[in-house]
């Protein structure tokens, strides 16, 4: 394992410290319990949005804390959900009297720890609503599994819900927008290489020299099937097929296309995928009116990518375009 780290035990704490120091204009960091919060929190009358989960998916979620997006992010250990304590602390830190929305990726650990935290915060008189994201179409039979995972779509939920909060929507309204985005986005990922969790020190799984894993989540956990390497265009089609048929998307839809790198794949490849994804969507009469291309929800240094397609309406389009000022996503200010 070769990584630019010191003691594996200190990876998250040291990285968050660097993040805090680099973005002191945008965020403040509490180190015990560990959470990242908007420098201007709590914003009176604005719904606070808290997300979090295991670390190793950077810039998610810390990179999305700031004006127009998250109020706070709670980073757990690498690939491990944070405990309730820092979630409760973050929830209190962003509560400006309008209540707090928890955006939680559907992984058992995240769901259980946020559930406990929400109970504790509610016991302290804070109004908390929870939206669980589950956009991963790789999980086929959610009845016989822990359910679909929250992956790439989470970034879009956080941006759009954040804009709704910033414009002054109520907690119910912000939660409803978040639910709507989650209901209209589908994601599917592919891995070319595994990733190495620092404290484990060994690859999370192994892939042959010519193998790729279709349907991975964001922890290097294996996915739907393992197939021989294919050209990028074929992979794009393989990822889009279950996405498009699941919602289903239909001719005439306007969508946001999000091609996300898993951390170790260079931009040059993401744009190759983006190009063909636009072509495939166009051939189905679906128009890409907004996009996001880059490494936004990652699995450490894993090579791979995910494609998310979000069906937009006028309101969600406007909220996507609204100003945002975070470490990882910034426009309009």
């Amino acid at each position: 394992m070769k990584k630019l780290i010191n003691d594996p035990k200190n990876v998250v704490q040291e990285s968050v410290a660097g993040f805090a120091s680099a973005h002191a204009d945008i965020v403040t960091v509490s180190s015990d319990p560990l959470f990242i919060v908007r420098a201007d929190a709590p914003v009176q009358g604005v719904v606070g949005i808290v997300s979090g989960g295991g670390s190793g998916h950077e810039p998610l979620h810390g990179g999305f804390v700031g004006y127009g997006m998250l109020g706070a992010a709670v980073p757990g250990p690498v690939f491990t959900s944070p405990t309730p304590d820092p979630i409760v602390a973050a929830t209190k830190a962003v509560d400006g009297g309008a209540g707090v929305l928890h955006i939680v990726k559907n992984y058992t650990g995240d769901v259980l720890n946020f559930e406990t935290a929400a109970d504790l915060a509610a016991a302290d008189g804070i109004e908390v609503r929870t939206v669980v994201t589950d956009d991963d179409v790789a999980v086929q039979d959610s009845l016989y599994t822990a359910g679909r995972r929250g992956v790439g779509g989470t970034v879009l939920v956080e941006k759009i819900a954040g804009a709704a909060a910033e414009r002054g929507d109520s907690l119910d309204e912000v939660a409803a927008i978040a639910e709507r985005v989650n209901a209209n986005v589908r994601t599917m990922g592919v891995a070319l290489t595994p990733c190495v969790v620092p404290h484990a020190g060994e690859p999370s799984f192994t892939l042959g020299d010519d193998e790729i894993e279709i349907g991975i989540g964001i922890h290097g956990e294996p996915g739907r099937e393992r197939i021989p390497l294919e050209p990028a265009d074929a992979i794009v089609e393989r990822l889009l097929e279950p996405i498009l048929s699941d919602l289903p998307f239909s001719s005439g839809d306007s969508v946001l296309l999000f091609v996300n790198g898993m951390g170790g794949t260079p931009l040059v490849e993401l744009y190759i995928m983006y190009r063909h994804a636009v072509e495939v969507l166009a051939s189905r009469g679906i128009t890409v009116v907004r996009n996001l291309v880059g490494n936004y929800i990652t699995a450490l240094e894993m090579q791979g990518a995910s494609i998310s397609v979000l069906k937009l309406d006028d309101e969600t389009t406007e909220l996507w375009d609204a100003p945002v000022q975070t470490a990882a996503l910034r426009w309009g200010r």
């Binding site: 295991g54 250990p77 822990a146 969790v197 404290h199 799984f205």
Partner: protein
């Protein structure tokens, strides 16, 4: 010979040692069908618990010990296993509240409440390839042993043996809960890490029982 606070503390200390010793094994099991952190998670949690045991006031009951374990695990482990084990100890504490010495029947109450706590939070059934596949046979075996009039150590022995068998028997299963559920058929042939850690912890209970 009933089991009291000394046993409860010894059980937890022994659990911490066992988890530390098996840290890499649990990480490896979790890497195969999960995300490779189970050993790390539990090791972090039980280390924190051990550091807090000395803060227990004189005259604490077994329930006090288990409550301390519960809150510490909940606030230090994270992941799926943190809330699950945390709830197990919390419910266990509730089941034996006020009792200073636990007899065979109390031990069955304790184990049953712990298992029910995990089910309450995680909603897993037997056969879902989770820690429940260790806990439920353990509870059943312990109950049979207690009904059969066996002593405390034998009850715990019955639980530990059943948990070990239960953990081993997760190997051929397809998972329906937790991360392994995303693997479908590919989880077959791998032991569930949470079932394995549960069996280690139940074995620790016997080892320190007089």
């Amino acid at each position: 010979m009933t089991l009291g606070t000394d046993w409860a503390i010894a059980w937890i200390r022994r659990s911490a040692d066992v988890v530390a010793e098996h840290r890499v094994e649990l990480i490896t099991l979790d890497r195969e069908i999960g995300d490779g952190d189970h050993g790390e998670n539990l090791d972090r949690g039980f280390s924190a618990v051990v550091a807090k045991l000395d803060t227990l006031p004189e005259g604490s009951t077994p329930a006090d010990v288990f409550k301390l374990v519960a809150t510490t695990l909940i606030s230090t482990v994270g992941g799926a296993s943190g809330p699950l084990f945390g709830t197990a100890y919390l419910k266990a504490a509730g089941a034996v509240a006020g009792r200073e010495d636990l007899d065979s029947a109390s031990l069955v109450d304790l184990l049953t409440a712990a298992r029910d706590g995990v089910v309450l939070r995680g909603k897993a059934a037997v056969g879902d390839k989770t820690m429940i596949d260790a806990w439920t046979p353990a509870v059943d075996s312990a109950a049979r042993a207690a009904e059969g009039g066996q002593d405390e150590k034998s009850v715990l022995e019955a639980a530990a043996q059943a948990a070990e068998t239960g953990a081993r028997d997760t190997e051929p299963l397809v998972a329906h809960k937790g991360r392994a559920s995303y693997l479908g058929e590919r989880a077959v042939g791998h032991r569930d890490p949470g079932a394995q850690s549960s069996s280690l912890i139940l074995r620790a209970a016997v080892e320190v029982a007089g």
